[in-house]
Amino acid sequence: MTLLDAVIFLPLIAFLISLALPKDNPDLIRRFSLVASSAIFIVSLGLIGSYWFQNPGKFVIETNVPWIDSPAIRYHVAIDGISLWLVILTTLLTPICILVSWRSIDKHIKQFFAFMLLLEFGLVGVFCAIDFFLFFVFWEVSLVPMYFLIGVWGHERRIYSAVKFFLYTMVGSMLMLVAIIYLYNASGTFDYTRILAGLQNGSIALSSQEQLLLFLAFFIAFAIKVPLFPLHTWLPDAHVEAPTAGSVMLASVMLKMGTYGLLRYCVPMFPNAAKICSGWIVTLAIIGIVYGALVAMVQPNMKKLVAYSSVSHLGFVVLGIFTFTQQGFDGAVYQMLNHGISTGALFILVGFLYDRRHSLEIADYGGVATPAPRLSTVFMITMLASIGLPMLNNFIGEYLVLQGAAMVYFRWSVFAALGVILSACYMLWLYQRVFFGRASEDLTHHMPDLNFREYAIIVPLIALMLWMGTFTQSFIPSISASTALILGPIDAGRDVHVRNSPAPRALAGKELANAR
């Protein structure tokens, strides 16, 4: 029983306890889930220490015990520098989301908080699983609570969105399942580390066509989750209709399941196929960056605007991964975390506005800065972080991705940088329409400033934005150590798409961070 096992199973235990709580005492349920999820967060912080003391870069805090004898399926979990931060992101956002839902969820309270804990169990598991079967189990398990969160507690078109969300993911998952079984039949194991080693040293022989098809099967499953243009159509629906906590978990953590899968499984296992496909994948990612930003600009609905901005931001992550450079990988991972913090915060702030005014239409606002100056200030900081202002977190990630892209093919970074400019346009315009101008009488009455609970929610996130934007070295070295291990074997044949590479390519993110 390691610390990691505790972080994985405590949410499940908390979920089971919360099911047993009496349903007519909502305060007890709220407090229990807040205390439980905060405790899990504190326990999960212990992972950072254990990670650094043991062999950074590689998989650590490993548990590997048999689960099902035949076919040989093992409960094999571990973390490395990539999953470490995603796990902590999940455990951090769960108590925050529970606080967000404190008053805004007023029906079926017990089930809501129980589902939040079950969701945490699934999400933490996805990032820790090393066994493919286990990974698939967690992948699907996280789907069920999110389906209910959207479908039961969402807005008007919640049912349509929940079903669409479930079916999209399900189709991708089924392709992934075929690929997982196919890999098992070729290798005799579900263990990712063994499969990877076998693929790299050639003991698992797959023809290049097989590799390509397997790559595509995994890729489609992950690309739906990311979501990569043109598979993104479920996302605006799901985000807009979900309750605030659901949107936050969906955007901040669930989308990362896709990009995490790309980086962890797709690229290292099938580097040749990934390189063959990288041309059109990067094209789609860049289309996603620009398209997402353009569509975000014309949205009349705040949540939809933030949702499309996610499509744009996640395009950067995919772009970073498919540059196959150290900077690109580091930037992609960092951008996953950044997006989790800043877009999560944006959804929370939009939720605050919704709690006050019960509308998501931008047209219903205007002049909010006058009655609620503090809310406007935190919104401003979050928005600037999302745009990518230096000193705030997104800048670092986007910069690294753009640099990685520029090293491979300069034009990529030109088009991708267009997305950064556009993000400034839609965000600033949103801010102007919502917060500036004259506040109507009606709005002033319904717009109290932040209360204590809301401070408790948003201040940690703002602090993280500043921290991640200035003290990058608290995060990047651990990420680099792991991405370098992924990149190492791929790097050998890197000349396929490399043109115009001015900088020495082995410049590790660690040095970069130090140089800054």
């Binding site: 099902i68 004898d69 035949s70 076919p71 079926h108 079967f133 698939f136 189990v137 699907e140 398990v141 789907l143 069920v144 389906y147 209910f148 479908g151 039961v152 919640r158 049912i159 929940a162 079903v163 479930f166 079916l167 399900m170 189709v171 998952s173 089924m174 392709l175 399942l177 075929v178 079984i181 196919y182 098992y184 039949n185």
Partner: protein, 488 residues
């Protein structure tokens, strides 16, 4: 050698489950007039005891494996697996039915007696080692089930279901019998091992055409019984028309037993000509999945929806047969067990919810059940998620294992199309979840009564079973794997 035709003690011991159930069924028929009107609850107790005793006898028989009655029956792991399964299905059907029968004022002895006889037939099918025994078992099981389908004899839908089932069923049985005759004519034997040996003997190649014709005819018979396309037409009407607890039984027990003989015949006697039948089973499997899943999408009646879903699930098991390898057999066995549990659970909820005269059998009627009866709805949700194939449920692991078998046999396209089919299937199961949890309670949910003890036991037992098979599949899987090497 004459002595071997006289049955010895151990022969009877191997047949003990069937003997117990026939005796109990007969006893129930005999004592009904003696007991009179007010002692009707005794019948369900007698049947429960009989099923439990048969269960113990079936498990005990596994410790004395071998053939009995001059090679007519065989007790091996495979037979034990299916005997235990169908007896358990019978037991759960009794538990789920008693309140329903009281509600419909039909709690007479025949129901229990017929159920016992039907399960007896299925046990014989599971243990049959030659074609005549298979036929006898199939007939015992089917005739009892025809009557059960029309059990509420004043109900029009029941009558229609029974008649349709009977006419089409007898037609299909005729095909089966014709196939058996062909085989006997060709090979001179009805024993499965002898048939296989004959086909493996050099110099019999010219008879392969005849043997394949026989296999095709028998395929028609079996495909009808398991409701595989293109012989699935009867299933929706019969499942919808029959009383809910009978549908519960029909969709699990007879289907499992029919698959047992299907597997045994095709994986022993007809294995030498597998290359000839594989394409047919392949296409039938795909067609079954597609028809079942796409037809279920548009159903508004929950019994009919589950009927189509049961067709689709038969398609998944057909995939395992198409793989015709040992993993395929184990996968089919595991899946049928998981399927029986989740389907019985789902139909038990329908039985509970439908109320007198099966008034509430539309999906829309379930609106808001999740908040009116959280436990019932929660358990129903487990069954539905298992039917979708969400991990940590038996349905997922079964499906996973079946498609693993298919990929082992290089049926990549069948696996891909089958799994995409199950994504389609997710839609109609989700619709039930949507109605239960995301819509406001309607009149049917508001007037809901508490669960009866029998149905509660059924629901908890099947839900626990579904979860155990999903989380610790090894408990059953190891047994299925060790008994999937059929005696050849």
């Amino acid at each position: 050698m004459l002595a071997s035709y006289v049955p010895v003690g151990v022969d009877y011991l191997r047949l003990l489950p069937e003997i117990i159930m026939v005796a109990a069924g007969t006893l129930i028929m005999v004592v009904e007039p003696i007991l009179g009107e007010n002692k009707r609850t005794a019948f369900s107790s007698i049947s429960v005891v009989a099923f439990l005793a048969a269960l113990a006898a079936a498990i005990h028989a596994n410790s004395i494996p071998g053939t009995s009655f001059s090679n007519m029956l065989i007790v091996d792991g495979f037979a034990t697996f299916f005997r235990v399964l169908v007896i358990a299905v019978g037991l759960l059907s009794v538990l789920a039915a008693s309140q329903y029968l009281r509600r419909e004022h039909a709690a007479s002895a025949e129901y229990y007696a017929l159920l016992l006889f039907s399960v007896t037939g299925q046990c014989i099918m599971a243990a049959a080692n030659e074609l005549i025994m298979i036929f006898i078992g199939l007939e015992i099981s089917s005739i009892a089930t025809y009557v059960l389908a029309g059990y509420l004899r004043d109900d029009k839908r029941n009558n229609e279901a029974a008649l349709k089932y009977f006419l089409l069923g007898s037609f299909a049985t005729a095909f089966l019998l014709y196939g058996i005759a062909f085989i006997y004519g060709t090979t001179g034997s009805t024993n499965l091992a002898d048939i296989r040996n004959y086909m493996l003997t050099p110099g019999t190649e010219s008879n392969v055409i005849l043997a394949s014709t026989a296999a095709a005819l028998m395929f028609v018979g079996f495909a009808f019984k398991v409701s595989a396309a293109p012989f699935q037409i009867w299933a929706p009407d019969v499942y919808q028309g029959a009383p809910a607890p009978v549908t519960l039984f029909m969709s699990a027990g007879p289907k499992a037993a029919a698959f047992a003989v299907f597997l045994r015949v095709f994986m022993t006697a007809f294995l030498p000509i597998a290359a000839r039948w594989e394409p047919f089973v392949w296409s039938s499997a795909l067609l079954t999945m597609i028809i079942g899943n796409f037809a279920a999408l548009t159903q508004s009646n929950i019994k009919r929806m589950l009927a189509y879903s049961s067709i689709a699930h038969a398609g998944y098991v057909m995939v395992a047969i198409a793989a015709h390898n040992q993993i395929g057999i184990a996968a089919a066995m595991f899946y049928l067990a998981a399927y029986a549990l989740m389907n019985i659970g789902a139909f038990a909820v329908v039985t509970h919810f439908s109320r007198q005269g099966e008034k509430y059998v539309n999906i829309e009627d379930l609106a808001g059940l999740g908040w009116k009866q959280p436990v019932t709805a929660g358990l129903f949700a487990i069954f539905l998620l298992s039917l979708i194939g969400v991990p940590l449920t038996g349905g997922f692991f079964g499906k996973f294992y079946i498609f693993k078998a298919a990929l082992d046999a290089n049926l990549v396209w069948l696996a891909v199309l089958g799994l995409l089919n199950s994504a389609v299937a997710a839609y109609y199961y989700l619709r039930v979840l949507v109605v239960m949890y995301m819509e406001e309670p309607g009149p049917a949910t508001v007037s809901i009564q508490p669960l009866s003890a029998g149905i509660r036991t059924t629901l908890w037992a099947t839900a626990l079973g579904t979860l155990i098979l999903g989380i610790f599949p090894s408990v059953l899987l190891n047994f299925a794997q060790s008994s999937s090497a059929l005696v050849k």
